[in-house]
């Protein structure tokens, strides 16, 4: 039976729907919305309570080898009393979790850094302002050679989220070759997160950067400046500099 134009159009559209479903399955059911990303993250990590995105940040980015720009979506979310931060990366039709940022899951409050901002999330609705103090230490085995505390004033981003900006000013390659204890003191948080945690291999002159938890103290204040609460949190140094 020869189909008229209307029949051909209906047939084509039906085939498009079937192929679209097949394509979605072939790509592993990538989530299309922020809510879907949250649900997928929740299911993949077996979080108990209903998950709710608290703060979302989209950015265009290109990794080496990419043909087109990606859209990265950084999400801070809450599931019951569990807080999580994770990153999704969309490249054309595919949208999957991006392990250039290691997802974090913590109870009661969370501190996570990504691409120039440290996010603190928790039951902070009552607070008017917040201060974050991050401590970095340069160690030689068990001995602390130097320590530096960075104090950053927070900006309320959402009801339960404060943002603490830090500069992404990577110093030139010259300083990377220095021994950490010889580096100048006036280094930014971004540079200290890399340069104070390097392991240097004498044999071949190479070096790597080890993971380290930087202790953070989050202090919340009310409108009159009275301290409300303090939280002892931590962030991994890789979160600060590895974008």
């Amino acid at each position: 039976m020869t189909l008229n134009r209307k029949g051909k159009t209906v047939r084509n559209l039906a085939l498009c729907v079937l192929l679209g479903v097949l394509l979605h399955a072939l790509m592993g059911f990538p989530p299309c919305t922020v809510r879907a990303m949250c649900r997928q993250f929740q299911a993949s990590r077996l979080l108990a309570g209903e998950i709710e995105p608290l703060h979302v940040r989209h950015e265009r980015y290109g990794y080496s080898g990419d043909w087109v720009y990606r859209v990265r979506t950084f999400i801070v979310a809450k599931s019951g009393e569990t807080y999580a931060s994770f990153l999704y990366s969309r490249n054309l039709l595919q949208n999957e979790i991006d392990y250039h940022y290691t997802p974090k899951i913590e109870q009661n409050a969370l501190c996570a850094a990504w691409n120039g901002t440290i996010y603190a999330t928790g039951p902070f609705a009552e607070a008017d302002s917040a201060i974050l103090e991050i401590k970095a230490e340069l160690r030689n085995r068990d001995k602390v050679l130097k320590s530096k505390t960075f104090t950053i004033a927070g900006e309320r981003l959402e009801n339960e989220v404060f943002g603490f900006p830090y500069s992404l000013d990577m110093l030139g390659g010259g300083l990377s070759g220095w021994a950490p204890e010889d580096l100048p003191d006036e280094l930014s948080l971004y540079n200290i997160a890399r340069l104070w945690y390097g392991d240097y291999w004498d044999e071949d002159g190479g070096h790597g950067i080890r993971h380290a938890d930087l202790p953070c103290v989050l202090t919340l204040y009310d409108g009159s400046g009275r301290e409300l609460e303090r939280y002892d949190l931590s962030i991994d140094n890789y979160e600060i500099f590895f974008n």
Binding site: R5, K6, K8, T9, N12, L13, L15, C16, L19, G20, L22, L23, A25, L26, M27, G28, F29, P30, R39, Q40, Q42, A43, S44, R45, L46, L47, A48, G49, E50, I51, S79, G80, T82, L93, E96, I97, Y99, T102, P103, I105, E106, Q107, H211
Partner: protein, 244 residues
């Protein structure tokens, strides 16, 4: 006259808003016109007269054009074009994914695992979460080379397909109070109290199974597993029967 036909058919096609069809319409009208001319010439009409009579018989250009425009609706035409283009694009993408990206192997593999999923035993410990259900049951305990291998078997049913199932941030404790192990997405591990552990995953789309193999230097009586690491959002317990 043939030039006059071109003028006439251009006037007809101008009325047809869906311009991709104009070429086809002109071709059809031209065939019709030329057939009429040949028929008249076979009746011994002069070619010039046959052409004139044929053109007159075609009708008023504007009225013919309006009638054709009603048949060749623009919205249906564009929808048809869109459906053809989209279908072609989808076919190419699916072919590319099938041939180069290994999408079909993954689809078949995980679909097979999904269908081969077996229900957990009735006595397995169970927790219902917002995203699905988790079951835990003790597996075999074997003594090998001076060590003890204790298996924990997980079954997971989630409500939506999960392409990347990573319940790795688990906290495990046993009767000796041994602490936790955690594995992060970047491969880092933190372990304390156990000699080693390994995961043997088996997962489909919404049905997953996993065997955790704990390598210890003693035989455990029970093990508790909680997640996410450090959270204890949920806790499951596996107990082994005492040896006779």
């Amino acid at each position: 006259m043939r030039d006059e036909f071109q003028i006439w058919v251009d006037a007809v096609c101008e009325q047809v808003r869906f311009w991709p069809d104009r070429k086809g319409i002109e071709k059809e009208l031209r065939i019709h016109y030329e057939d009429h001319c040949r028929a008249l010439e076979r009746l011994n009409y002069e070619p010039k007269l046959a052409a004139e009579r044929s053109l007159r018989a075609m009708g008023n250009a504007q009225e013919v054009g309006w009638a054709l425009d009603r048949i060749h609706k623009p919205w249906l035409g564009w929808l048809w074009k869109f459906s053809e283009g989209t279908l072609l694009m989808l076919v190419l993408i699916v072919l590319w994914l099938t041939v180069s990206a290994g999408g079909v192997e993954q689809l078949i593999f995980r679909t097979r695992q999904q269908l081969e999923w077996t229900d957990p035993p009735a006595w397995a410990d169970h927790v219902s979460l917002e995203c699905g259900d988790v079951y835990l049951a003790p597996g075999e305990v074997r003594e090998t080379g001076g060590n003890v291998e204790a298996e924990l078997r997980f079954w997971v049913k989630v409500r939506e397909p999960v392409p990347d199932f990573q319940p790795w941030e688990l906290e495990v404790a046993d009767n000796r109070g041994a602490v936790s192990f955690r594995e992060w997405g970047d491969g880092r591990r933190q372990t304390s109290g156990y000699l080693e552990w390994e995961r043997v995953p088996y997962w489909g789309w919404t049905r997953h199974q996993m065997t955790l193999r704990l390598i210890l230097d003693y035989r455990p009586d029970w093990v508790e597993v909680s997640a996410p690491g450090g959270g204890r959002d949920w806790v499951l317990r596996a107990e082994w029967e005492e040896e006779p």
